[in-house]
């Protein structure tokens, strides 16, 4: 599997039945989504101990929505993949679900929501999945409809995976055009693995951005999931070389000796054959 999902197919096709199931069964994925959702809700700066009405943009199979429910909020989710929404229904998530395309605008009344979150979805809006699509226009329609359906003073937090800085520029400029203030918060900026981008948009006029995590270099980037550590260690073992004592290793070693000009036995069908272990 190479590169970025959004280069392979439009989201409603990429997240078909199989992928939707895989996505939601992958425990590593679930844990990462949970951590990012909790951080996004934190960045929303909602009033304490007050149940709020939140919109989850690109809610998928409801992984991020569950964090909202856990924190006592009532939420509605929008997604373009009916397969993902189907999985959410199976998982019996509390939030109401809508099948919709964010780039067509949000079909809600003014001031309907107290906040918005979005986990790993915004980058999908930057691609033209159909000939008629103009990403900049779709982004503008999305952001301006979002601005109107949010209560004055509330925020929208987007965790996303920008492809490059011009994509960040495109997104931020359309958001500002739509009336939002705010900016990008980058957690763990110095760690390739832990680095996460959160676009924090505000409707209540210019306010200071929340502080990013892990900017103080003494703070360690979290090794989020045990799995990935173990996988790295496995890769580091003899990367690119044959495992020790195997036939391939023996043949390579003999080649090395020949290159060094040392006397070496000819290779034959008996080279590196399995020997019967002796009992001395």
């Amino acid at each position: 599997m190479s590169g970025r999902p959004e280069h392979q197919a439009p989201p409603e096709i990429f997240y078909g039945e199989d992928e939707a199931r895989k996505y939601t069964r992958n425990t590593r994925m679930m844990e990462i989504q949970l951590v990012m959702s909790e951080r996004a809700v934190e960045l929303l700066c909602l009033p304490e101990n007050q149940p709020c009405h939140i919109i989850d943009l690109g809610c998928g199979s409801g992984l991020s929505g569950e964090t909202l429910t856990e924190q006592g909020h009532v939420w509605t989710g929008v997604d373009i993949s009916s397969a993902m929404l189907g999985v959410a229904k199976e998982r019996e998530v509390e939030g109401d679900l809508l099948l919709g395309d964010l780039g067509q605008g949000l079909p809600f009344r003014a001031g309907a929501f107290d906040g918005a979150i979005s986990i790993s979805a915004l980058q999908w809006l930057c691609n033209a999945d159909q000939k008629s699509h103009n990403p900049a226009k779709r982004l503008y329609i999305f952001f301006s409809s979002l601005y109107s359906c949010l209560n004055r003073g509330s925020r929208a937090v987007f965790q996303f995976y920008p492809e490059n800085s011009s994509q960040v520029e495109l997104i931020t400029s359309q958001a500002m055009k739509a009336g939002f203030t705010g900016g990008l918060v980058v957690d763990y900026p110095n760690s390739t693995k832990a680095k996460k981008f959160f676009l924090c948009l505000m409707t209540g006029g210019q306010q200071p951005l929340p502080a990013a995590l892990g900017v103080d270099s003494r703070e360690d980037a979290p090794n989020c999931v045990a799995f990935s550590q173990k996988r790295d260690r496995m890769k580091q073992l003899r990367a690119g070389k044959a495992p020790k004592k195997s036939r391939d290793w023996i043949l390579e070693k003999k080649e090395r000796r020949r290159r060094q000009g040392k006397e070496t036995r000819e290779d034959s069908k008996f080279t590196g054959r399995k020997r019967q272990s002796h009992v001395w």
């Binding site: 009532v74 929008v78 373009i80 229904k89 809508l98 099948l99 067509q104 009344r109």
Partner: protein
């Protein structure tokens, strides 16, 4: 789709629609659930809810009995009223049916509780 969600849904993303609210409901299947009552949340939502639209929706579903026709004064402290509002907003769910744009008549199908708000290319 709960009636709370229906109360905030519009068809204004369609070309040629000015307000697009409220959407008509034709329901083929409805479900009534039990949802935990949160008086604080309901109290705040009542400020945002369009009450006449809620009454109209309940009427379309044939569930109008028991819903007060207007918001009472001092509703924050009226637990009975809050409980009724909670029942209609959070416990009645449209499973199958259609939502209808009041200006163009365009139908948005609701399947398995999920409204399909996707518009065709020529509609946006």
């Amino acid at each position: 789709m709960k009636l709370l969600t229906h109360n905030i849904l519009t068809s204004k993303c369609l070309k040629g629609v000015t307000v697009g609210y409220p959407l008509g409901i034709v329901a083929k299947e409805i479900k009534v659930n039990e949802v935990e009552f949160n008086p604080e949340f309901i109290s705040r939502m009542i400020q945002k809810v369009d009450w006449p639209a809620l009454c109209k929706a309940a009427e379309n579903l044939g569930h109008i009995d028991d819903l007060p026709s207007a918001v009472v004064d001092d509703y924050e402290n009226n637990e009975e009223f809050l409980k009724k509002a909670h029942h209609f907003l959070m416990e009645i769910e449209v499973i199958n049916g259609d939502l209808i744009c009041p200006e163009t008549g365009r139908k948005f199908p609701v399947t398995d509780g999920i409204p399909n708000m996707l518009a065709n290319e020529d509609e946006v």
